[in-house]
């Protein structure tokens, strides 16, 4: 809360404050004004705009306007419609029985164990997959960053293959690999103590979640590694060189120079993946369809709106899911204390 008025000292190595943390110290208005070059150089707002500035503003609206209107149509409208529908008891196959119930649907959802269990499973999947992906992704980013020039292209392509696979296709591939009838995993790995020919991976919660999370990690680690690679590439070489000259070990260089300078990239990676993981649907839909304790909030919303055709209750679940997503974004942005409106690299 006091971030802009009382900036804390950077946690990075002495003399190398994070660029993203350096800016607010100079001007507390930067974040609010959008921090574009034009904005920082402009005088107070009430000043009369020049003809050129007006023309630029007009052009800006003309260019962005259609996209803005389209965004309103395709995102805001359905959200508002869902909020409105969530106040009714309304079933698609009983159109005449529509009844206003106020917030009763939310009351049912928030007092039902199914919702809290599904929320727990969703958070479990989110936390574990994002944590594992972050570590693996960073390792892959380091490999890509340090690979010799001739190897970089093929290496990046190879690492990107899982991410290029359509999620439903990868979900089927993992399902058929682990399924007790069609799978080969049981016969290949039956020498392991916890796997036998009779292991039913999708028959109970823990093994099913293991496969679901493993497939998720396999599929999206490349994405996180690419984001981290871009962050890694932005760390000024002279900083690491200077730390090296000062006798910093690899770990010290990593923890005190490289990682603090990658904070914005790490935040974006974590936020994007956390939101993605929180909305997980395809993998579970294909592998277990939510059976045996593997249901997440997205699946609950789908099953209520599409399966049961209970538009009112389903909309309420969707709205709750939407609020959760906003909350996660808020926590991530506040938690990392990164100014997303700024210029990231802070050059």
């Amino acid at each position: 809360m006091s971030e802009t008025t009382e900036p804390r000292p950077a946690r990075a190595a002495e003399g190398t404050p994070s660029p993203t943390e350096r800016e607010p110290r100079r001007s507390t208005d930067v974040a609010r004004s959008g921090s574009s070059d034009v904005a920082t150089q402009e005088k107070p707002r009430k000043r009369v705009k020049s003809e050129r500035a007006k023309a630029e503003t007009r052009l800006g609206w003309m260019l962005a306007g259609p996209a803005f209107v389209l965004m309103l149509l395709v995102t805001v409208y359905p959200i508002l419609q869902a909020v409105f529908d969530s106040l009714f008891s309304f079933r698609l196959t009983a159109p005449d029985d529509r009844e206003f119930v106020g917030l009763a649907n939310y009351g049912v959802i928030l007092t039902d164990g199914v919702f809290w269990y599904d929320l727990g499973i969703t958070l479990l999947i989110t936390v574990i997959t994002v944590a594992v992906e972050l570590v693996l992704g960073f390792a892959l980013a380091l490999v890509m960053n340090n690979a010799i020039r001739s190897l970089r292209g093929p290496l990046r392509t190879a690492i990107l293959v899982p991410y290029g696979t359509i999620t439903v296709v990868s979900a089927f591939a993992w399902f058929y690999a682990f399924d007790i009838n069609t799978g080969y995993i049981n016969s290949w790995f039956s020498w392991l103590p916890f796997i036998s020919e009779d292991t039913a991976w999708f028959g109970s919660t823990a093994p099913a979640l293991f496969v679901i999370m493993a497939s998720e990690i396999w599929k999206t680690t490349p994405f996180i590694s690419l984001l981290l690679l871009s962050g890694l590439a932005q760390v000024p070489g002279e900083l690491t060189e200077a730390a090296k000259v000062d006798g910093a070990t690899w770990w010290e260089r990593m923890s005190k120079v490289i990682l603090p300078n990658m904070k914005a990239a790490i935040m974006v990676a974590v936020l994007f993946r956390a939101l993605d993981a929180f909305r997980i649907f395809d993998n579970i839909f294909i592998m277990t369809n939510g059976a045996y304790g593997t249901e997440t909030l997205s699946l609950l919303a789908y099953r209520t709106s599409i399966g049961r055709l209970e538009i009112g209750m389903g909309s309420a679940v969707s709205v709750v899911l939407f609020l959760c997503v906003i909350l996660i974004s808020f926590i991530a942005i506040k938690g990392f204390k990164v100014d997303l409106a700024g210029r990231g690299g802070g050059k």
């Binding site: 159109p95 009763a104 028959g203 099953r303 399966g307 049961r308």
Partner: protein, 431 residues
């Protein structure tokens, strides 16, 4: 911006205009063709081996230019088919001329008036000489609301060698306890569908109906007045059978994810003994492992008690017409053709889906392909549909959730399921 006469851009503009003109002409000529030709009926079909598409072609030709039928494929599983059909019908989609409907979903679509009324003459023609189960599945509130196209039923398939070794006389009706005991004594496994899906509702319903009890006692009731027969002695017996198969490992290690195909794979393997499954397994085995056919026999669905006939599960497909279709009369005319004895016999013989019309069972090609055709017909007459209620989806999903995995099913399961369904229908619980 400077405008300079640019040859390239002029050429591009001309090409663009020409393309636009071409598209417009094509679109207009398309309209003209639509207006001039016979009405095109759309038939939403469930996936099969191409039989429905062929029948659509046959009936288009037989109409003598009165109409054409084009098919549109629905998703693979019955629940997804219902979702798509219900959403389209609720939105007033005019293209819903003919629809292939799974029987348990008929009441849900009939109740809000999504289905066009079946004309008297079509009722008379399509429901005469028909198996009992199919007729029951086509009705809602004592009226025929859909036309039976083909009817399905589960049989008890057995490995002759195992039954013989266990000393079971398969010419006599057998009970669930008998086949469980036989499988156990021979160290074999039973082919049953323990997956959390529609298959589990099919199994549970058959166990209730085989004891003369229904899961929903008053099918036409509103959701506040639905009476469930779940919490009963019959329910505890059904739970005992399913729970024992689960806990004793009689359904194999993959029981909790076993669907019809998985059951068939188990039955065809070394551990195969008895299996309850639809007739498709006969042509499937003939294609995959013809050497097994000599060891496979078929009998009526197992009984719950020795002195009461079983009520085998009923499946199949009904044909419905959307209330918003532009051509309901032509659609019903086309349905009369689709559901003719000849086409039903063709569909059985070519795709393995049994007819609803009794006469189609007498077709020589059918007899050749399915030696057990008379047994299927007998089973269809005894078959009982799944609960007929507009809230079938809630009832079915709750059963699937509470009766899986099989090893966790116990004497409390029926009462627990009954209470849960009541709460869901009253809007007090999430499903």
């Amino acid at each position: 911006m400077r405008r300079s006469p640019d040859r390239k851009s002029r050429t591009r503009a001309s090409a663009g205009l020409a393309a636009a003109a071409l598209i417009a002409t094509a679109a207009l000529s398309g309209c003209a063709a639509d207006e001039g030709g016979p009405p095109a009926l759309t038939w939403y079909i469930n996936p099969d081996d191409g039989g429905q598409a062929t029948i659509a072609q046959r009936c288009t030709e037989a109409s003598g230019g009165k109409y054409t039928i084009t098919t549109s494929l629905l998703p693979r599983d019955a629940s997804s088919q219902r979702e798509q059909l219900a959403r389209r019908l609720a939105a007033g989609d005019k293209s819903m001329d003919i629809m292939s409907l799974d029987p348990p979903f008929v009441p849900e679509l009939a109740e809000p008036g999504f289905l066009a009324p079946v004309p008297e003459n079509v009722v008379a023609e399509t429901t005469s000489d028909i198996v009992e189960g199919a007729l029951a599945g086509a009705q809602w509130n004592d009226q025929v609301v859909a036309v039976p196209f083909w009817a399905n039923t589960q049989l008890l398939w057995y490995r002759k060698s195992v039954a013989q070794a266990a000393g079971l006389d398969m010419n006599q009706p057998v009970t669930w306890d008998q086949i469980m005991e036989a499988a156990k004594s021979q160290d074999k496994q039973l082919g049953v569908q323990g997956v959390r899906s529609e298959s589990m509702t099919v199994w549970v319903n058959a166990l209730y109906e085989s004891q003369g009890t229904s899961i929903v006692e008053n099918p036409g009731a509103s959701k506040d007045e639905v009476q469930l027969g779940l919490d009963s002695e019959a329910g505890r017996e059904a739970a005992r059978v399913i729970g024992t198969i689960g806990r004793d490992g009689l359904g194999g290690p993959g029981l909790s994810t076993a669907d019809e195909s998985a059951s068939m794979a188990l039955f065809q393997g070394d551990k195969g003994s008895f299996m309850v499954n639809w007739p498709f397994i006969w042509p499937a085995t003939e294609a995959d492992q013809p050497e097994l056919l000599d060891d496979i026999g078929a009998a009526l669905y197992p009984r719950m008690t020795a002195d009461q006939p079983s009520a085998p599960p009923l499946g199949g497909i009904m044909l419905g017409v959307g209330a918003n279709s532009d051509h309901p009369d032509l659609a019903y005319e086309a349905i009369t053709c689709i559901a003719s004895v000849e086409n039903q016999a063709y569909y059985f013989e070519s795709n393995g889906n049994p007819p609803a019309k009794k006469a189609a069972f007498d077709d020589p090609k059918v007899r050749e392909k399915f030696p057990m055709a008379p047994l299927i017909r007998e089973s269809l007459d005894m078959a009982k549909p799944r609960p007929q209620t507009p809230y079938y989806n809630e009832v079915s999903t709750a059963i699937q959730q509470r009766w899986t995995p099989a090893e966790a099913v116990n004497e409390n399961t029926p009462a627990d399921t009954s209470e849960f369904i009541g709460q869901v229908l009253r809007g007090e619980r999430l499903l």
